[in-house]
C-alpha cells in the first residue's frame, strides 16, 4: 500500500463512518424531530447539534489516530473527515430529492432535506454543508492539538450549554419556582432555547470556574490532605450530614414532575441494589428478577386492596408478609436453578419471570389476581398521620427503603457471607473446595435479593395504588441488569449512577421517548466496548479488568472520570 494512502487513511475511514452514522441518524428521524428545538435561540437547533457532534467526534478520533502523529497531518485528517461527513449528507440529500425514498424510509421527508441543507437548493447547499463539515473538522483538529487542561476548558462549557439547551424545559420551571431566582431563567432562556447572551455568559462563567479550579484546585486538595485526621473526619461527617439534608429537602426544591422522576429512579435503585447482591456479589445472572417485584406488588395488593376483599391490612401490616413471601419465593425459584451456571441460569430465570407474568395475566387466576385489569384501590401508606400520597411524599418512603437496603448490603458485603459470595462469583469450584456451602450461599443471595425486590414491589404498588400485569414484563429485569452493569457490577454507588443514567435521563427526555430505547441500546453497547467495568466501578473489579495497566508498572488505576 502506498505511503500517500496510509497517511490519509484515518481521515477517510472516520469520515465515512461518521457519514454513515449521520445519514442513519437522519433516516431514523432523530435529526428532523429534534430540529424544532433550539439550543441557542435562532442560532442552532438540536438537529444540527446532533450532526455536528457526530462530525466533531469522528474528526477528533481521526486526528488522534493519525499515524505518524504529525501535527499538520492530524489537522488535515480531521478536516478531511469532517468534510466527508458533509459529502455523505449531501449525497443523501441529492439522492432523496431525485428519487422518492419515502415509500420505504418513512423519515426521508423534504423537510429533512431542507434541514440538512440549511433550506437551500442542492447545489448551493452542498457547498454550505461541506464547508460546515470541514470547519467542524478543523475545530475538532484544533481541539485535539490543545493541551489537556485547555481542552477541558473548551469542551465542558460547550457541553454544558448543550445540556442546558436540551434540558431547558426542566431547568426553566425549576428556576422559575424559586421566586427571586426566576429572573435568571428569564435572562438565560427564551421560550425556545437559550438566549445568545445567556449562552455566552453561561459558557464564560463555567470556563472561568474550570480555569480557577485547574489553577487553585491543587491547593484546596493539598490543604484537605494536610488537615489532621480528626479535622478530615469532621469535614467528611459534615459532608454526609449536608448530603442527608440535601436528600431530605430535594423533592421540595425540585417540584412535582422531577420528584416523580426521582421516585422512579429510587425504585430502580432499590431493585438494582437487590439484584446487585445476586449478580454483583454472588455472580448469578438472574434475568427473571422482575418475578419477585411482581410477587411483592401482588402480595401487597391482595393483602391491602378492598377490591378483592380477602384481607384489609394496612401497608405496614402487609409489609412483613410481603417480604417473607419475597424471601420464600426467592428460595423456591432459586432451588431448581442452583446447579446451573451462566447462560442456562439466565434463560431459566428468564423463563420463571415470564411464567409468573403469564400466570398473573391469565383468565384462569383472574378471581384471585385480577387478570389483565389488575387490582386497584390499594391504600396509601401512612405513618402517624402523614400520608405518603403524592410523589413528593412517596419519595421519603423510597429514600428510607434505599438507605436501609444500602446499609444492609454494605454490611453483608463486608461480612463472612459477603466474602463467600464473592468467592463463588470468582470461581465456584475453588470456593467449594475452600469449604463454602454453595447451596447456602446461593440461596441466601437469591433470598436477600428477592426480599429487597419484594420491598420495592410493595412501595411500587402503593405508589400507583394499583397493579397491572403489564408492569412486570421482561424489559424490567433487563433494565435492572443493565443498570447494574453500566453502573459497575457489585458497586453500590454504581447502582445509583446506573439508575440515574439509564432510568432518570430517559424520563427527563420524555418528549424524545421515541428514540429512548435506541439511544439506550447504543449507550449499552458503547459502555461495554469502551468502559466495561461500568461508570462507577468497584475497586477490585476495575483492577481485574485493567490488569495489563498494572502489570506495566502503573501503581494507581486511572482516576475514573466523574459520572454525570
Amino acid at each position: 500500500m502506498s505511503r500517500l494512502h496510509s497517511i490519509w487513511q484515518q481521515g477517510i475511514k472516520n469520515g465515512m463512518i461518521g457519514g454513515v452514522v449521520a445519514v442513519l441518524l437522519c433516516l431514523v428521524g432523530m435529526v428532523q424531530s429534534f430540529a424544532p428545538r433550539d439550543i441557542v435561540n435562532h442560532v442552532i437547533h438540536m438537529g444540527h447539534t446532533l450532526l455536528l457532534l457526530v462530525a466533531v467526534f469522528m474528526a477528533y478520533m481521526a486526528a488522534k489516530k493519525t499515524d505518524p502523529p504529525l501535527t499538520s497531518q492530524a489537522l488535515l485528517n480531521s478536516v478531511l473527515s469532517g468534510a466527508i461527513v458533509g459529502v455523505f449528507l449531501i449525497l443523501f440529500v441529492a439522492a432523496g430529492r431525485s428519487v422518492n425514498l419515502r415509500m420505504v424510509l418513512v423519515n426521508a421527508s423534504p423537510m429533512l432535506y431542507n434541514t440538512i441543507t440549511f433550506g437551500r437548493e442542492t447545489a448551493p447547499g452542498a457547498i454550505l454543508v461541506i464547508m460546515a463539515g470541514a470547519l467542524t473538522g478543523l475545530f475538532a483538529g484544533l481541539l485535539f492539538l490543545l493541551p489537556q487542561s485547555m481542552r477541558r476548558i473548551v469542551i465542558i462549557p460547550l457541553s454544558s450549554i448543550i445540556v442546558a439547551g436540551v434540558l431547558q424545559d426542566l431547568i426553566r420551571p425549576t428556576l422559575a419556582a424559586w421566586g427571586p431566582l426566576s429572573f435568571i431563567s428569564d435572562w438565560l432562556f427564551t421560550s425556545n432555547g437559550l438566549t445568545v447572551h445567556g449562552s455566552l455568559v453561561l459558557g464564560v462563567f463555567i470556563a472561568a470556574g474550570l480555569a480557577f479550579w485547574s489553577l487553585k484546585g491543587e491547593i484546596v486538595r493539598e490543604s484537605y490532605r494536610s488537615l489532621p485526621e480528626k479535622g478530615r473526619k469532621s469535614l467528611r461527617l459534615s459532608g454526609y450530614f449536608g448530603l442527608v439534608v440535601f436528600l431530605l429537602i430535594l423533592p421540595q426544591i425540585l417540584g412535582l414532575f422531577l420528584s416523580e422522576v426521582l421516585t422512579i429512579v429510587g425504585l430502580y435503585v432499590l431493585l438494582g441494589l437487590g439484584l446487585n447482591i445476586v449478580i454483583g456479589y454472588a455472580g448469578l445472572l438472574d434475568l427473571g428478577y422482575v418475578a419477585f417485584f411482581a410477587i411483592g406488588s401482588y402480595v401487597t395488593a391482595i393483602l391491602t386492596s378492598p377490591e378483592l376483599g380477602f384481607f384489609s391490612f394496612s401497608f405496614w401490616g402487609a409489609l412483613p408478609f410481603v417480604i417473607v413471601m419475597g424471601v420464600m419465593s426467592g428460595v423456591l425459584l432459586g432451588t431448581p436453578v442452583l446447579k446451573m451456571r451462566g447462560d442456562y441460569l439466565a434463560i431459566a430465570t428468564l423463563g420463571f419471570g415470564e411464567i409468573i407474568r403469564i400466570l398473573v395475566l391469565s383468565d384462569w387466576l383472574r378471581p384471585w389476581l385480577g387478570g389483565a385489569q389488575g387490582i386497584g384501590r390499594i391504600p396509601k401508606a401512612s405513618l402517624v398521620g402523614y400520608e405518603f400520597a403524592g410523589p413528593q411524599e412517596i419519595y421519603y418512603l423510597i429514600l428510607a427503603g434505599c438507605l436501609l437496603v444500602i446499609f444492609i448490603s454494605t454490611r453483608l458485603r463486608d461480612s463472612r457471607i459477603g466474602r463467600a459470595w464473592m468467592a463463588v462469583r470468582e470461581d465456584e469450584d475453588v470456593a467449594q473446595a475452600m469449604g463454602i456451602n454453595l447451596v447456602g450461599a446461593k440461596l441466601l443471595a437469591f433470598a436477600t435479593g428477592a426480599g429487597f425486590s419484594a420491598l420495592s414491589g410493595a412501595i411500587f404498588a402503593t405508589k400507583l395504588s394499583s397493579v397491572y400485569p403489564h408492569s412486570f414484563n421482561v424489559m424490567i429485569s433487563i433494565n435492572i441488569v443493565c443498570l447494574i452493569i453500566v453502573g459497575g457490577m457489585g458497586s453500590i454507588p454504581g447502582v445509583i449512577v446506573g439508575a440515574a443514567a439509564l432510568v432518570g435521563l430517559p424520563e427527563l427526555l420524555r418528549e424524545f421517548a421515541e428514540y429512548r430505547l435506541l439511544v439506550y441500546g447504543a449507550a449499552l453497547v458503547v459502555v461495554m466496548l469502551v468502559r466495561p467495568e461500568g461508570l462507577w466501578p468497584e475497586a477490585v473489579r476495575r483492577r481485574e479488568l485493567h490488569e495489563d495497566d498494572f502489570e506495566n508498572g502503573e501503581a494507581m488505576p486511572p482516576e475514573p472520570s466523574k459520572p454525570g
Binding site: 442513519l24 433516516l27 431514523v28 428521524g29 432523530m30 415509500m103 420505504v104 424510509l105 418513512v106 423519515n107 449478580i279 445472572l285 432451588t335 431448581p336 436453578v337 442452583l338 446447579k339 446451573m340 451456571r341 451462566g342 447462560d343 442456562y344 439466565a346 434463560i347 431459566a348 428468564l350 423463563g351 420463571f352 415470564e354 411464567i355 403469564i358 400466570l359 395475566l361 391469565s362 383468565d363 384462569w364 383472574r366 465456584e428 469450584d429 447451596v439 421482561v474 433487563i478 441488569v481 443493565c482 452493569i485 457490577m489 421515541e514 428514540y515 430505547l517 435506541l518 439506550y520 441500546g521 447504543a522 449507550a523 449499552l524 453497547v525 461495554m528 466496548l529 466495561p532 479488568l545
Partner: protein, 356 residues
C-alpha cells in the same frame, strides 16, 4: 442393603427432594390433565391433527432461528441476544419488495420467482446485519468476561429494534398474501392448509441444507473445529475470525429465511416481531442442548409441538379457563423441567454444569 440406603441418604439433599417434588407435581399434573382431556373427548382427531401440523410449522421456524443461536454459542460461547432482531430485519426489509411485487401484480403472475426474490433479499439483509453486528459489537469483546458480550447483545437488540422502527415506521405492515399458498389440500380425508405445508417443507429443506453444509463442507468442518477448540483450530491453519464471521453469516441466512416463513404464516411484520420468537428459539436451542445442531432442530420442533398441543392437552382437562393464554408458560415450564431433570438438554453434552 443398609449401606446402600445410608449412602443414598447422604447423597440426597433437601434441595434435591424439593426439586423432585416440584418436578413430580408437574408431571402428575400433566398426566392428570391429559387423561382428563382425552376422557372428556372435546377435541376430535381432526383437531389434534390441526394442532400437530400447526405445531410442526411453528416448530420448524423455531428450529431455523435456533440454528443461529446454537451455531454462535458453539463458536463464541455467548448468547447472541440480538438474534431475534437479525430475524426481524430480513422479512421487514423484504416486505417492501413483496409489497411492490404485489401492487404490480407480479406476485400473482410469477409467484415462485417473486417469493424466491423475497427470500433472497430477506436472507441477504439478515446475514448482513448479523455480520455487521459481530464485526462492530462483538469482535472487540472476544476476550472480555462472559457477562459483557451478553449485555452488549441486549443493547444491540434494542438498538436494532429501534433503528428499524425509525427507518420503516412503527406500525404493523400486512404481508401480501400469495394466492398460490391460500386454501388447503385434502390428504386422506384430512385437510391441510397449503402455506403450513410450504413452511414445513421449506424449513425442512433449509435445515437439511444447513446440516449438510456444517457436516460435509470444508467451511463447515472448520466451523466445527473452531467451536471445539479455538486455539487448536488456529494452529491447524484455520482463520478463526473469518470462521466466526461465517458463522454469523450462516446464522443470519437461516434467520432471514425463517423470518419470511414466519411472515407468510402470520401475515404481518413489525419492528418488535423478533423478540418473542427469539426468546422461544433460544429456549429451543437450550432444550436441544445448546451448541448442538441436531439438538437445536429437535428442540425447535419439540417446542412448537408442545406450544400448540400442550394447552389443550394438559390444561383443558384440569378445568383451566382459556388455556391457550398459558402456552408460553407451558413452553417455559418445559424448559425449566428439562433443565432440572436433564440439564444438558435433550441431545446435549453436560454444558450446563460444566464451566464453558
Amino acid at each position: 442393603m443398609r449401606l446402600a440406603w445410608k449412602e443414598w441418604r447422604e447423597r440426597i439433599t433437601a434441595t434435591d427432594i424439593l426439586m423432585w417434588v416440584i418436578g413430580g407435581a408437574l408431571v402428575i399434573m400433566i398426566i392428570m390433565g391429559s387423561t382428563a382431556t382425552l376422557a372428556a373427548g372435546r377435541y376430535s382427531g381432526r383437531h389434534w391433527f390441526d394442532f400437530l401440523i400447526f405445531g410442526l410449522a411453528q416448530g420448524s421456524i423455531y428450529a431455523l432461528i435456533a440454528m443461529g443461536y446454537t451455531l454462535v454459542y458453539g463458536v463464541l460461547r455467548m448468547i447472541n441476544f440480538a438474534h431475534g432482531e437479525v430475524f426481524m430485519s430480513g422479512p421487514y426489509t423484504a416486505y417492501f419488495v413483496a409489497a411492490a411485487f404485489y401492487r404490480s401484480g407480479f406476485l400473482d403472475s410469477h409467484p415462485i420467482i417473486s417469493l424466491l426474490m423475497v427470500f433472497i433479499i430477506a436472507m441477504a439483509t439478515s446475514s448482513g446485519i448479523a455480520f455487521l453486528l459481530e464485526r462492530i459489537a462483538y469482535r472487540p469483546l472476544r476476550n472480555a468476561p462472559r457477562l459483557i458480550p451478553l449485555i452488549t447483545a441486549i443493547g444491540a437488540s434494542f438498538f436494532l429494534q429501534y433503528v428499524f422502527r425509525g427507518l420503516y415506521g412503527s406500525g404493523f405492515q400486512a404481508y401480501p398474501t400469495v394466492r398460490m399458498l391460500e386454501g388447503f389440500w385434502m390428504i386422506g380425508g384430512l385437510r391441510i392448509l397449503k402455506f403450513q405445508v410450504v413452511v414445513i417443507v421449506a424449513a425442512a429443506l433449509l435445515l437439511a441444507g444447513l446440516y449438510s453444509f456444517i457436516q460435509a463442507t470444508r467451511v463447515g468442518k472448520a466451523i466445527r473445529a473452531v467451536s471445539e477448540d479455538k486455539e487448536a483450530a488456529s494452529l491447524m491453519g484455520i482463520d478463526v475470525d473469518r470462521m466466526i464471521s461465517t458463522t454469523f453469516l450462516i446464522g443470519g441466512l437461516s434467520a432471514g429465511a425463517a423470518g419470511v416463513l414466519y411472515a407468510l404464516m402470520f401475515k404481518q411484520v413489525h419492528f418488535f416481531m423478533g423478540f418473542i420468537p427469539g426468546l422461544k428459539a433460544f429456549t429451543a436451542a437450550v432444550l436441544g442442548g445448546i451448541g448442538n445442531i441436531p439438538g437445536a432442530m429437535m428442540g425447535g420442533l419439540f417446542l412448537g409441538l408442545i406450544e400448540s398441543i400442550g394447552p389443550s392437552l394438559f390444561l383443558d382437562g384440569l378445568g383451566i379457563v382459556a388455556p391457550y393464554q398459558l402456552k408460553d408458560a407451558i413452553a417455559f415450564t418445559m424448559l425449566v423441567l428439562v433443565l432440572i431433570f436433564r440439564p444438558t438438554g435433550i441431545l446435549g453434552e453436560r454444558l450446563a454444569v460444566k464451566k464453558a
